[in-house]
């Protein structure tokens, strides 16, 4: 990826910048928030936006802006860690299926079918029961669901690459399946994986919100955007602001990620690059 690419795809730029801004907002919360998020001062609760508390305060008098910063970090972290699990397990599985074929492929397809058919929420409930509710639990539950997604993408991409002559050439050069996967298949499906990664990241952030809603995700005193939304839900009619802030944050982050993903896909997909003259070349 280079700057020319980004210049030619303004939506990619918007998506990446917006994503980066939110990610930065979250990262900064590691070192600094306007107010500590554990600090509860009931007396100052339900304040509207103002010069001291830019986004107001919540039901326990915590600073909403600080919570949004910290919550954004958690949401990103959960989504990203789940993507890492998905890529870490799914991509090798998918590559193995494509490189070895036969029984390996059959097994990988079965594994991915089974994980796909397993409702992620049920997995989340089971893990919660095993380990207690936590953000880590959400990461695993969402991550497990990501595995077949990446396995499929990796396998599909690798199968397309594997028919290319340069893979045969590598085989002729005596390279084994592992070496071919690492040297040729993986680098060439990386763009597919990155694009899918942004999509799964946004889905992960939504899934975290859903899990937090039924009490299986992030636990206080830590916070996530989903948890903030859930806590604010019951007072929506009295203090709609408390709902709108995290809700809007989720919507904006997800849209930013999706736009970035779409942009990446457009920029990286050679099929679409050719578009416009694909009837031309004789």
């Amino acid at each position: 990826m280079n700057w020319r690419l980004i210049r030619n795809h303004p939506s990619l730029l918007i998506g990446l910048v917006a994503t980066a801004l939110f990610a930065l907002l979250g990262l900064v919360s590691l070192w600094w928030t306007p107010f500590p998020i554990e600090q509860i001062v009931v007396a100052r609760r339900f304040q509207g936006p103002g010069p001291v508390h830019w986004l107001g305060t919540d039901n326990l008098g915590r600073d909403m802006f600080s919570l949004v910063m910290s919550g954004t970090l958690t949401s990103f972290w959960v989504g990203a860690a789940a993507v890492v699990i998905g890529i870490g397990v799914g991509v090798p599985l998918g590559l193995a299926a494509a490189a070895w074929g036969g029984a390996v492929e059959w097994l990988v397809i079965r594994i991915s079918d089974v994980t796909f058919a397993f409702p992620s929420v049920v997995i989340a409930i089971l893990i919660t029961t095993l380990m207690g509710p936590s953000a880590a639990n959400a990461i695993i539950a969402i991550g497990i669901f990501n595995i077949p997604v990446f396995a499929r993408v990796a396998r599909g991409g690798a199968l397309a690459i594997a028919t290319q002559d340069y893979v045969s050439a590598a085989r002729l050069a005596g390279l084994g399946n592992v070496a071919i996967s690492v040297r040729h298949l993986l680098p060439n499906i990386m763009s597919l994986i990155i694009v899918q990664g942004t999509i799964q990241l946004s889905l992960g952030i939504l899934a975290e919100a859903g899990l937090s809603y039924i009490g299986l995700g992030t636990q206080p005193p830590a916070t996530s955007l989903g948890l903030m939304l859930r806590d604010a839900q019951s007072v929506f009619l009295i203090h709609p602001w408390l709902s709108i802030v995290p809700g809007l944050a989720i919507v904006l982050i997800v849209i930013a990620l999706n736009i970035a993903g779409d942009g990446l896909r457009d920029a990286m997909d050679p099929r679409l690059k050719r578009e416009g003259i694909n009837h031309g070349a004789g």
Binding site: I109, R110, I111, D113, V114, F116, A117, F118, P119, S120, V121, V122, I125, L126, T129, L130, S202, L206, A209, G210, Y213, I214, G226, L229, R230, Q233, F236, L237, S243, G247, I250, V251, L252, I253, V254, I255, N258, I259, R271, E275, N278, H279
Partner: protein, 316 residues
């Protein structure tokens, strides 16, 4: 063709078997003794032991596994530990909520998503297209429990057109039951409809660039006619794949929407059953969910083969 069906069916059966093993092992790992949970915290160790024996929890794992799977194959899903009722009946009761809900959501998402996707593709690059795709982005990004509550505030609390939730059994009052499906169905359908609209648009744009559309135009059709008569059907193939995948998401999403609209669905049954350590109920209900999802993807695969003649060969 038959071979193709057979192959898919074998894969389906294998998936179910693996799922059964996974579920069984996972649940065996679960901390907390179901017998103790039922008898409460003051029960004597003797009583717990005798209840464990009664429930067959002291047999070796593989025996319990096969008696469970064997029972299910004969239609015997066992008896719930906590509710002392036939598990099959309990599941059927909940499926009568969850399945129609998913179907309603599926139908709604197709009915909303596909036409909008086609419209966007036809108006590609124009304001309609941009507007629809922005809407679709928002549709995907709104958490469905939040959207569900907003729907409920608008249609149930303010307009009072539809109930805020709850479920009347179908045989008691069909229309009341159907009305109860509308809002949760919509809440579930929104993100899926948005995804479908995007996929449909992309697929149609892709197809529009294909050679056979050019052929159709060469025959004397305008691009619009060519896309309508040749493109849509071809574009439906990727859409069908997505539809199969979406079903899994819908089923997973029902449990959250069931909470918002207090519907007695299968997801919530599993949720409570796990917290009550009703293992027989949990594993049978979970395998039923897996069965439903796998069955749908099997059906999608077979439909795919019916629609696409290229897949009908046995070696596909």
């Amino acid at each position: 063709m038959i071979l193709y069906f057979l192959r898919r069916f074998l894969g389906f059966a294998a998936t179910l078997f693996i799922a059964a093993v996974v579920i069984f092992v996972l649940l065996d790992l679960l901390p907390g003794d179901p017998a103790r949970f039922i008898l409460g915290i003051n029960a004597s160790a003797d009583a717990v032991a005798s209840l464990r024996a009664q429930m067959g929890l002291d047999a070796p794992a593989h025996e319990r596994f096969f008696s469970w799977v064997g029972g299910m194959l004969q239609g015997d899903f066992g008896v719930s530990h906590t509710q002392r009722r036939d598990v099959a009946g309990l599941i059927a009761e909940r499926l009568s909520v969850t399945l129609p809900l998913t179907v309603v959501a599926m139908v709604l998402s197709v009915a909303i998503g596909l036409p909008l996707g086609i419209l966007a593709a036809r108006r590609r690059g124009k304001a309609t297209d941009t507007g629809l795709m922005v809407l679709a982005q928002v549709g995907i990004a709104v958490p469905n429990f939040w959207f569900g509550m907003l729907l409920s505030l608008l249609f149930a609390v303010t307009l009072r057109w539809l109930p805020t939730g709850g479920f009347t059994p179908w045989n008691e009052d069909f229309w009341a039951a159907a009305r109860g499906m509308v809002l949760p169905g919509l809440a579930l359908a929104l993100p899926q409809a948005s995804i479908l609209a995007r996929v449909m648009r992309t697929a149609l744009v892709d197809v529009t660039g294909q050679d056979f559309i050019r052929t159709a135009r060469a025959k004397g059709m305008t691009t619009g006619e060519a896309v309508w008569r040749h493109g849509v059907r071809n574009a439906l193939l990727p859409v069908l794949t997505i539809l199969g995948l979406q079903f899994a998401f819908l089923v997973a999403g029902t449990i959250i929407v069931e909470n918002v609209f207090y519907l007695p669905g299968l997801g919530r049954l599993i949720y409570t059953a796990i917290s009550e350590r009703d293992l027989i109920l949990v594993r049978s209900a979970t395998i039923v969910l897996v069965l439903v999802v796998s069955l749908v993807s099997l059906i999608v695969d077979l439909t795919y083969a019916l629609v696409d003649p290229r897949l009908r060969r046995g070696d596909a």
